[in-house]
């Protein structure tokens, strides 16, 4: 079985957000990580590899620096890494990104494609389903459990108040939730392999069956009209009181606002 996992290098916004003096996000000092949902997707692929002997290829699109997440994935147990990077691909929205990745995946053989549900920097959850549409294969998003049975995948798909157990014929694309599993750590042997591993680098010319009009900033239907730092509600009152005074204070405010 051949599995392709799409991963993304993202700034670590969880817990480690740093600001510049002017209040903007200080990206330079922020660490980058493998996107958590993608890492769960990779773990799911590696478990299938452990069980069925699958070949796992990781693909990422980004700046040359994004090679780091491919090496991390190889250190965890992935077999091959492919970096898609090219200046003309920059500024892509989800349409152009999914076109780019679909163009790269057309060069590969796959039974199963796994992506994370969403990246923590954009939170759109669009690229996985859009890739599946471009490749004309079924998609099951929000996977909370995953197994292979013959030529099909069986997936528990999470909704708000329920889950569906779904069967899809492979090839198929599945988007993974971070809750899917607990990703393994890199192994010392794996880290050693990852350093030696040859990373395949693809540019625009290596993308198959994609028109220039669908790539990069120019191929992006959505455009940014403006971006600004979030204006937060101003700080109100802050008091330090002993417990019964604190209770009096809150009750007073709730009465004032006619809550009680």
């Amino acid at each position: 079985m051949k599995i392709v996992v799409c991963i993304k290098q993202v700034p670590d916004t969880k817990g480690g957000v740093k600001f510049n003096p002017d209040g903007t996000l200080d990206r330079a000092s922020m660490m980058t990580i493998m996107n958590p949902d993608d890492k769960a997707g990779l773990e799911a692929a590696l478990r299938l590899k452990d069980q069925y002997g699958a070949e796992v290829t990781v693909v990422t699109m980004g700046l040359p620096k994004a090679e780091e997440v491919l090496r991390e994935a190889i250190a965890m147990g992935a077999d091959k890494g492919i970096l898609v990077t090219d200046r003309v691909l920059g500024g892509a929205d989800t349409w152009a990104t999914s076109q780019t990745i679909a163009g790269a995946l057309r060069n590969l053989e796959y039974d199963l494609i796994i992506t994370g549900r969403q990246a923590i920097d954009g939170d759109t959850a669009q690229v996985g389903p859009q890739i599946s549409e471009h490749l004309d294969i079924p998609v099951i998003s929000y996977a909370q459990n995953l197994r292979v049975e013959g030529d099909s995948v069986i997936v528990e798909r999470q909704f708000d108040d329920r889950y569906h157990v779904l069967r899809a014929k492979m090839p198929c694309l599945v988007t993974a939730l971070a809750e899917l599993n607990e990703p393994r750590y890199m192994t010392p042997g794996g880290i050693f392999d990852a350093y030696k591993a040859e990373i395949t680098v693809w540019g625009r010319a290596d993308l198959k069956d994609v028109d220039d009009s669908n790539l990069g900033l120019k191929g992006s239907p959505t455009q940014i009209a403006k971006a600004s730092d979030k204006v937060r509600k101003g700080t109100g009152e802050q008091v330090t009181l002993d417990p019964s005074e604190a209770a009096d204070y809150i009750v007073g405010k709730l009465k004032e606002k006619h809550v009680i």
Binding site: P11, T13, K14, V17, L25, T94, W95, I120, D121, G122, D123, T124, A125, Q126, P129, Q130, E133, I137, P138, V139, S141, Y142, Q158, F159, D160, D161, R162, Y163, H164, V165, L166, R167, A168, K169, P221, T222, Q223, I224, A225, K226, A227, S228, D229, R232, T235, G236, Q238, V239, T240, L241, P243, A246, A247, Y249, I250, V251, K253, L254, V259, I260
Partner: protein, 347 residues
């Protein structure tokens, strides 16, 4: 693509088990504002099996027209037949705007449809308006009028971005539940109802549903609560949430929580407020033992009144609180609950 052919504001009216989701009414409400600005109408697209009877309810919340796509293949939500239904509506009726709820269903359906009809899709919008793009005139670039300007948080809520889709139609957005206001229900209001069936032939993209497992729950939806008493890691344990439950009961409210509490296994995911949970805007929000991660604040800062109780005076939650109390929640909550009960009896 001739943009002039695309007219009208369309909303996907999500139903599950033949019950319309609140998000449908919220989208109609917002859709009315946009349609008024554009001088056009709001059409709800109702997709399912035996759902025609639900159309009147959409009319009562303001839909001018309802397109019903009714087919046995659409009984339970599945990506392919629903994407085919909605994409076929787009291809036939050519809406200029299409809004979809940013629910588990909408966030699956939206991208598939936008990819099929080749247009842009802006995710998880919290604000929608009609305006010019570019917002200010730019030399060498045509300024287009009557564009949908879609605003959404990005980078974990640190940034707000406004997005336009000037050269493709429909302009598509998924919209966060709980953010837009539905209109007052007008009993007996009627809409023009039109049936449309593009034909459903199962192919390799249709997945098979083996089982549907519903969570058994009697929990009140936190998005509907007027008062929320929300606990974070600082509450200390699942058992200690009793203090919050008592306070919530005294106020006629509901308990919710931060992500840390769900991760610790103290409360279920349905009660989680924040970027990866639910967006709430109750009349009163108590943040108890919640430090205030940006992702949490993104889900509650629109609440009318925010009361924070935290022992750490530097906790970020105080930056959005109307009333912040530095102190020990274990000591404050029992007294507060008693006083509120007493005040209610006296009142």
């Amino acid at each position: 693509m001739n943009l002039e052919e695309y007219k009208g504001v369309y909303v996907f009216a999500q139903q599950v088990d033949n019950v319309i989701n609140n998000i449908a009414f919220e989208l109609i409400g917002k859709g009315k504002d946009l349609a008024e600005a554009l001088g056009t109408k709001v059409t709800a697209v109702l997709v399912g099996s035996n759902v025609e009877g639900l159309a009147d309810e959409l009319a009562e919340y303001g839909a001018d027209k309802v397109i019903v796509v009714d087919d046995p293949e659409l009984n339970e939500y599945r990506t392919e037949p629903y994407a085919h239904a909605l994409a076929s509506v787009v291809q036939k009726y050519k809406p200029e705007i299409l809004l979809v709820g940013a629910t588990a269903i909408g966030r699956d359906l939206g991208p598939r449809v936008s990819a099929r009809v080749h247009t842009g899709l802006t995710a998880d919008c919290t604000q929608l308006e009609i305006g010019d793009f570019p917002i200010n005139p730019m030399p060498g670039k045509e300024q287009k009028h009557n564009q949908l300007l879609m605003t959404r948080p990005a980078f974990g809520g640190n940034t707000i971005a406004t997005i336009a889709c000037p050269d493709f139609r429909p302009q598509m957005a998924t919209v966060r539940p709980g953010v837009m206001q539905k209109r007052e229900k007008v009993s007996g209001a009627k809409a023009n109802i039109e049936k449309f069936n593009p034909g459903f032939t199962p192919d390799h993209k249709y997945v098979e549903i083996l089982e549907v497992v519903k969570a058994v729950t009697d929990v009140v939806d936190i998005m509907d609560a007027k008062v929320l008493v929300s606990g974070g890691r600082g509450v200390g344990s699942a058992e200690n949430f009793k203090l919050l439950e008592d306070l919530a009961e005294a106020l006629g409210g509901t308990v919710s929580c931060s992500r840390a509490v769900v991760d610790a296994g103290w409360k279920s995911k349905e009660l989680q407020v924040g970027q990866t949970g639910k967006t709430v805007r109750p009349h009163v929000y108590f943040a108890v033992g919640i430090s205030g991660a940006i992702q949490h604040m993104a889900g509650m800062e629109e609440s009318d009144i925010i009361v924070a109780i935290n022992k750490d005076e530097t906790a970020p939650i105080f930056s959005v609180a109307d009333y912040g109390v530095v102190g020990d929640l274990n000591k404050i909550l029992p007294i507060l609950t008693e006083q509120i009960k007493a005040a209610k009896v006296a009142g």
